[in-house]
Amino acid sequence: MLQSIARRRLFGALGGTILAAMSLALPSAQAAEPVKIGFGMALTGALAGNGKAALIAMEIWREDVNKAGGLMGRPVEFVYYDDQTNPSVVPGIYTKLLTVDKVDLVVSGYGTNVIAPAIPIMMGRKKVFMGLFGLAANEKFNYPNYFQIMPAGPDPKLDWSRGFFEIATGLDPKPKTVALVGADAEFARNALDGAKTNAEKFNLNVVYNNTYPPSTTDYTPVVRAIQATNPDVVFIASYPPDSAGMVRAINEVGLKAQLLGGGMVGLQYAALLTKLGPMLNGITNYDFWVPAPTLDFPGVNEFLAKYQAKAQDAGVDPLGHYLPPYAYAYLQVLGQAVNAANSLDDAKLAEYIRSNEFDTIIGKVKFGKNGEWASTRVLQVQYQGVTSDGLDQFLKPGARAVLYPSEWKYGELKTPFPQ
């Protein structure tokens, strides 16, 4: 009898131990539930080159974060769809992400044209929304939970071209006239609006101000029309195919100016840098990161090494200087906010992001009005000494001299254009 009592006590103790172990295991299984981040991304269409490059950068971030234990101890998963660089499909994508896929967090796709249509969806659900390279996308919405990783500055339309015009007005002789030209698209129009305001502010007379349809095949007529106005300065806001078309047409027509460039997307990519080669010399254009000693932020070179190893096989920009570091950084900001707030609550995350400065691979990031950067860091670089010798010249300082802002300056302006 004593043995049967002892046996029952033993079995009871064993059963209790098993039950205790199960109750400890259950919270661990819940903690392993992934944090789902949802987004649309340009995997086809006009901006797919950048979209796919951004996706590679985001996957690198996800791998790095998961190796370090995830967010709040939970692994990160992506749920994403191809937005085809088509603004009309964006609302549907984000509605699906939030209502069907039930993602925890959302970030934007690449570019103003696809960020703007997503913001109303986010406003309806009060979601924190990290933006990837939208120019003044939030200007009309004033949505407080939007944060934008492109370093345009607190007044993006003006800050985008401010550096270009500050350089222009420092020229000798002082320029008097400016031609403004750009694509008929959201980004370019915003850039041109800002450029016009800056031109007036810096007392430059606008002698040409036109847009062209993105479907334009040849830019010779546009460049000739600009040449006919004999401007001292030419500001161009263009997308990659138009940037290539404009550079070639400028070279063929022989357009001259004291300063030319400004807002030409695409001249930051390996494909255009290598194929346009010496035609780029003398163009002063915006950029966000180039290999210069003044921009050697912690982690950026390690990231680029990982990115460049993956980019070649993926058929995307092998350099990765333009968008990929920022695609990594906007997730760094979101991830740091989640871990610091220890929460996925959008209100808490928004408050944290608004109130703090972040250390990222693109340097320190602090957000200000409307979710834009508290201060601008749109670089103005000038292509100098570019030859037809391929990509290696762009992997080191020199081919792109940093002229503005002064705290990141590395190199001196050469004028006039062309060199």
Binding site: A46, N210, R248
Partner: protein
Amino acid sequence: MFTADLLLNAVVAGVLLGGFYAAAAIGLTIAFGQLDVVNIAHPAFIVSGSFCAYFLNDAYGIDPILVGVLLTPVYFAVGVALYSVYYTSFERHGEESLRGLAFFFGIMFIVEVLLIMSFGVDYRLVDTAYIGESIKLGFIGLPYRLLVPFAVSLAMAGAIYLFLSRTFTGRAILAVSQDRLALRLMGADPVRVKQVAFGLALATTAVAGALLIVIGPVEPSIGRLYIGRVFAIVVLGGMTSISGTIVAALILGVVESLVGTLYGPSWAPAVAFGFLLVTLAVRPAGLFGR
């Protein structure tokens, strides 16, 4: 502001651009205008020609236009095979209108996806000695980037015109576009003739694609920007007429260039297509249509 040299340069630039448009549209004149095959995938095949030219230029330094010409037999064979499938599946059953159109939409997407899978989504450009250089005749500037494609386009159009008007097969193609039954009564097989014609139409896309990538960068889905333009040129030209296509393409190029230079590039497509509508209102058969 509107100086004589600006005006003349705009006209010249428009003529050169129109030459490329003619190369892009001439195959569609054969396929759509003469054979009634609504090949909406025609611009996608042009883009595939661009990528073939890019690949061989990048890998082996071969001139892209030479690549385009060398690939015409391959594209011809693809065109013959494609028409055979189209005829067997749709035209023979009288289902060519909607289902045939859906077929070519599908082909368009397949071509785009294959290009994306093979080359990625980045813009591609080619290197040649003549890109970036131009020749000046007085105050007229002629960029080689447009002049060479213009010359090649005219040569191709001339060759096709001579083939259609001077050879037995060419005349059979013109005949099948006019009266298929009568051609059958003459002892010719209309299906065989249409196979050859469609093959010829697709062969032109190899050359047109090479010209496109000489003029500017391409990415896999850029063909969609040209669907409206090439169909508009075919219709404006009179549907079946090769010379009509050439004239229509030149007119479109000149209108776009003049408006873009003198009034603002944003207006160029609207004015160009407005011209198409006005022409069709006055002459519904198109410029050279019967």
